[in-house]
């Protein structure tokens, strides 16, 4: 965890494409957020981007209307995402594909709400947000690395704590977890809110970094699909699985996918289905099968 954080803290001084590095950091963060909710509870959040967008707008509203300093506005990003998470907790009653589809629908509903032209005085509606007053990509990048470190710490905690063990127990068998004394509904909601705050912070710091964006940018389903495929590909419920997934797949995407992004949506969409069906533990499972305990 420390090496990853250190690497992305140092890389900007040796590599000039800062936007690309920033995107890596954002996806490393989101992939860990997906890891929290999917890897530890088994809910596949196709609308995960909703929290990212909620964070981006929570940040922007505070900056636009209250001229809040960015770091304070990041707090609002987290709060917005958690508020959306709380609003969506009833979805946790759904199982499997029903949850995933309802979550996707919810994220689209939030997108349409925010981009409603009638809300222009508040959200700028479909015309997008401009935060040129706080534009500071170097600082925003550093904070993004800190947010990523936070996400990594959360997953390290889940891997090594009783709470993380309880979540895995619930994922394995909710009835038996209750028989072990676990309040199943409560721990699921906690995991859901933790994963939402991670995406909320990521969305807030994204808004800060780019400073100009449209609703479709921060609610684009690419974010959900990419974060899910990266986490799944490397291997969920581990710390390094999602990191491996982002580095490999986002690397490939940037190497050859930039000119033809539409194929990548298709390929990655198909990859999610194949991974869920045939390699649910991701690449990491090849190492685990040899008896190696992957952190």
């Amino acid at each position: 965890m420390a090496p990853v954080t250190a690497a992305f803290a140092i890389l900007p001084s040796v590599y000039s494409n800062h936007l690309l590095l920033f995107n890596f950091v954002v996806f490393l963060t989101l992939a860990q957020g997906v890891n929290v909710i999917y890897g530890f509870t088994g809910y596949l959040p196709f609308g995960y981007v909703g929290f990212f967008g909620a964070g981006a707008y929570g940040f922007s509203l505070l900056v636009m209307h209250l001229h809040a300093p960015p770091v304070l506005a990041l707090g609002a990003a987290g709060v917005s995402a958690v508020a959306l998470g709380l609003l969506l907790t009833p979805l946790l009653r759904l199982s499997g594909a029903y949850f995933s589809i309802a979550n996707l629908a919810a994220s689209l509903a939030v997108l349409h709400f925010i981009s409603n032209p009638n809300l222009e005085p508040i959200t700028r509606g479909p015309y997008g947000v401009s935060l040129s007053g706080v534009f500071n990509p170097d600082l925003a990048y550093s904070i993004a690395v800190a947010v990523m470190a936070f996400a990594l710490i959360v997953v390290v905690y889940l891997r090594n704590s009783r709470f993380g063990l309880a979540l895995q127990a619930v994922r394995e068998d909710a009835v038996s977890a209750a028989s072990a004394g676990v309040d199943v509904v409560r721990v699921r909601v906690y995991a859901w809110l933790i994963s939402s705050v991670i995406a909320g912070f990521a969305g807030g710091v994204y808004a800060w970094y780019v400073s100009v964006f449209y609703p479709e940018t921060v609610f684009g389903s690419d974010y959900s699909i990419f974060a899910i495929v990266f986490a799944l590909f490397g291997g969920v419920s581990t710390i390094i699985g999602p990191i491996v997934g982002v580095v490999l797949l986002y690397g490939v995407y940037n190497f050859i996918g930039f000119s033809t992004p539409q194929y990548f949506q298709l390929i990655y969409g198909a990859l999610i289905i194949l991974l869920v069906l045939f390699l649910p533990q991701g690449l990491i499972s090849f190492v685990k099968r040899r008896g190696v305990d992957v952190p």
């Binding site: 009783r162 063990l165 309880a166 895995q168 127990a169 394995e172 068998d173 009835v175 038996s176 977890a177 209750a178 028989s179 072990a180 004394g181 676990v182 309040d183 199943v184």
Partner: protein, 241 residues
């Protein structure tokens, strides 16, 4: 009826889409007693355990545990009050190790005697050699013992065991019977659901015979086999176990 019952079920009814799986069932368990719950397949024994352990809420009737009405409370709350169970088809956390299976219950079970030692608990059920293996690699009898270990980790006052003995060899049966009697001697109350009458005879103080969701007999097993209704249900109903 004993005034000092740890569990008192009265007129309990559980419907599945109109079908009466429990049909005004009444029974009680005294403190430190091992009660055998027997009856043909489909008579509602597992459903009784499921309702008492909070998996299903009953449509009618009452479940008084330790002097308080608990019908309809959720499972984890009942676990914290002191009711736990094993499953007819074992339900361990398959991808977690045997030790982690018990660790969850130690961490969340709120055992009134304090947290038990996972290693000692596993050893007491002959699972110590398997502690670091995923539960999925255990055989069915071992998985049942792991269910039992998880239940014991929470320090239950009332233990409900659902066909724990099925699939065990005679030596293991004796061993499990002795275990259950040890628990009862230490003050635990137990309901044992079992088809093997030898096992029931060995461990229980008293039996309740169920048919079609209702109790038809309560007394010793020796008296039960003399009872006309019981004989009819077992001989006519097919599965005598």
């Amino acid at each position: 009826m004993s005034p000092d019952a740890i569990l008192r079920i009265d007129a309990l009814t559980k419907l599945f889409f109109g079908f009466r799986a429990l049909d005004s069932l009444s029974l009680h368990v005294a403190r430190g007693e091992i009660l055998g719950l027997v009856g043909p397949n489909g008579s509602g024994k597992t459903t009784c355990i499921n309702v008492v352990s909070g998996l299903y809420a009953p449509e009618a009737g009452s479940v008084v545990f330790d002097g308080e009405e608990v019908a309809g409370l959720s499972t984890h709350k009942l676990v914290h009050r002191g009711i736990n169970r094993t499953f007819q088809v074992p339900k361990p956390f398959m991808h977690l190790t045997a030790r982690e299976n018990v660790d969850v219950a130690i961490a969340y079970g709120r055992n009134p005697q304090g947290e038990v030692d996972a290693g000692a608990l596993l050893a007491s059920l002959n699972l110590d050699a398997l502690a670091s293996r995923p539960a999925a690699e255990l055989n069915s009898a071992q998985q049942k013992m792991l269910d039992l270990a998880r239940a014991l980790a929470t320090g239950p006052k009332l233990l409900l065991v659902d066909e724990l003995a099925a699939g065990l060899n005679p030596a293991e049966l004796d061993w499990v019977a002795a275990k259950l009697k040890d628990f009862a001697r230490a003050g635990m109350s137990i309901i044992v659901v079992e088809h093997l009458m030898g096992f029931i005879e060995q461990v229980t103080d008293r039996v309740v015979v169920m048919n079609a969701g209702h109790e038809i007999f309560g007394g010793t097993l020796a008296e039960a086999v003399q009872d006309g209704k019981v004989v009819e249900v077992f001989l006519g109903g097919g599965h005598a176990g």
